[in-house]
Symmetry: D3
Subunit: 131 residues, 6 copies
Amino acid sequence: MGTVPLLTDEEVSAEALAVFEDIRATRGTDFINNFWRSLAHNPALLKATWERLKIVMAPGALDPLVKEMIYVAISTANGCSYCVHSHTAAAKAKGMTPDMHGELLAVIGMAAQTNALVTGLQTQVDDAFKA
Amino acid sequence: MGTVPLLTDEEVSAEALAVFEDIRATRGTDFINNFWRSLAHNPALLKATWERLKIVMAPGALDPLVKEMIYVAISTANGCSYCVHSHTAAAKAKGMTPDMHGELLAVIGMAAQTNALVTGLQTQVDDAFKA
Amino acid sequence: MGTVPLLTDEEVSAEALAVFEDIRATRGTDFINNFWRSLAHNPALLKATWERLKIVMAPGALDPLVKEMIYVAISTANGCSYCVHSHTAAAKAKGMTPDMHGELLAVIGMAAQTNALVTGLQTQVDDAFKA
Amino acid sequence: MGTVPLLTDEEVSAEALAVFEDIRATRGTDFINNFWRSLAHNPALLKATWERLKIVMAPGALDPLVKEMIYVAISTANGCSYCVHSHTAAAKAKGMTPDMHGELLAVIGMAAQTNALVTGLQTQVDDAFKA
Amino acid sequence: MGTVPLLTDEEVSAEALAVFEDIRATRGTDFINNFWRSLAHNPALLKATWERLKIVMAPGALDPLVKEMIYVAISTANGCSYCVHSHTAAAKAKGMTPDMHGELLAVIGMAAQTNALVTGLQTQVDDAFKA
Amino acid sequence: MGTVPLLTDEEVSAEALAVFEDIRATRGTDFINNFWRSLAHNPALLKATWERLKIVMAPGALDPLVKEMIYVAISTANGCSYCVHSHTAAAKAKGMTPDMHGELLAVIGMAAQTNALVTGLQTQVDDAFKA
């Protein structure tokens, strides 16, 4: 699989390797997952994506675990197998328990169901909901 | 808009009206939003949907505001305009601040972006992510 | 709305008008719905789309009402508001009763829900299901 | 693959096992497919999903084969590989012939195409289609 | 419509106004479209989005019109009405002729159709296509 | 994988084989990729799909490489793994360089992100964008 080969540390450009090093330092691990190794064919895209991700996923008004579960939700709705795997693993690493995972899945399923029902019914938006 | 007309309290069946009453009692408001009024053409579907929603969105291992933001995320990824409106309003009612909303949107956008990049690259799932 | 204006019979090319006439003759009505009026900016695309649609939706191993409900299902999953409206109207015209509509929506909602659950779980396909 | 491991009969809770037994009795087979084995980590979600599915897919105003083909359509539009496999197998078991499968695919493809064209054109909904 | 109100120049923060000014200078127009006015509730998100967009859409290995048509394609597949409108208008402004628009739509429709067929068939990827 | 088996030249009907021969002649290669081999169960669908594809992807107001990149974009947004692989390979064969591929991915990612932001914000379409 893959539309481009995965790149090893030895194969990437200096700019990409610097991103890898920042990923390692930020996450406190030597592991660079395949997404970054495939994105490294385009160092500028790799760098922009990682730097933005680091900001977006940092603690803020929402805590990192909540952000990770939202990430799982979007990845699920978009049918991105890789992303569901990687962000579910990340959510578990940040403390998502089996019960939380079960509830996350239940909400995802419920939302998908009512999204479909509303779209099938083409229900008009209530004025009360408009900002 | 709408593939079925919205039904007033006077037009719905007794079974549907009982659901409306439970929605009112549970939410502490007289307001019944259009989704339920369009779904009321099918009282059994209305009842099953509402009763499941009530369970899924109740406090549990995840708090109701987190669940509501996950609901917004799925609705956004699925492009359901009604659902984005209604669940964003619900999230605000449950305490989502503008800063939280901004971060929710930022995570949604980031996830959509990396989902697309991964899909374009067809990156294979790392063994480390498989359960 | 619209990225192109709707074209009247007077504004379309001769090739497009011939398609309109075939739509009218096939359907036994003078009404040309907006999809065809917006597609008429590209007569070749209009003609290819209509001629293929006519074949695909004709009675065959599946009856036209079943085909129309499948069309509604896809349009719903794809979030195409126009298409949900037009094909729900077509399904009603071909005999879809309110009970059938309710069951169609229930299946659509159920499928959307389990699709999401499976994607969130990343369940591997059973060997028994592979052709 | 999988964000959770598949559970054997010996590993699931009593509540989940009771659901497995009902699936077996309802379907007249010992086979429990992987979806239920992955969902069994959350017995309440497993039970709610199965019980609802049993009702939704039962004979009614629409026959079970038609429902199964609608399920395949939604699963296809949502890009759920597992679901396309499992529900295509189910549709074949319920009598879907190769000709019916071919027409199902043709309608799915046609709908996806016109959904995309309409969305690209942003065609406004005809008043005649509004309920 | 809108989950947040649109903000005027007078209502936005200084940071957001600076982004508006850069949009105006870059595009050579006073017009600020609604996307930026709704995003301005979150100045940091506004700024990050605009600055990245400016880089991504600049001339490079692909010319700006090609990029704009790719943007229309993605927006169409994602069912984003606003985005289809805004990027179709942008493509026209950059030189997309009616014939080019027609071909863009034809490719979008064709791809959506074969995407659906492949997904329904669950065709395995040819080894020849793997990088 | 696959909901139908792949068919060899020896297994397909005469009508399907004629399509295979036209694919070979048009592309100047003996290779028939799996999509056509799975679609060959339905010779009429195979023939209609191939003949339409040949027209749509031919040089016109847009050049074939641009069309192929638009095809990749749609396939990515629709999450069709097979299609992303096959059309990325086709785009490379038609001259897409690594830099062009990188920019294609960057635009795809950017569009997915702003599509999601707009949908989350439910921004109303500017009058200036309506045709």
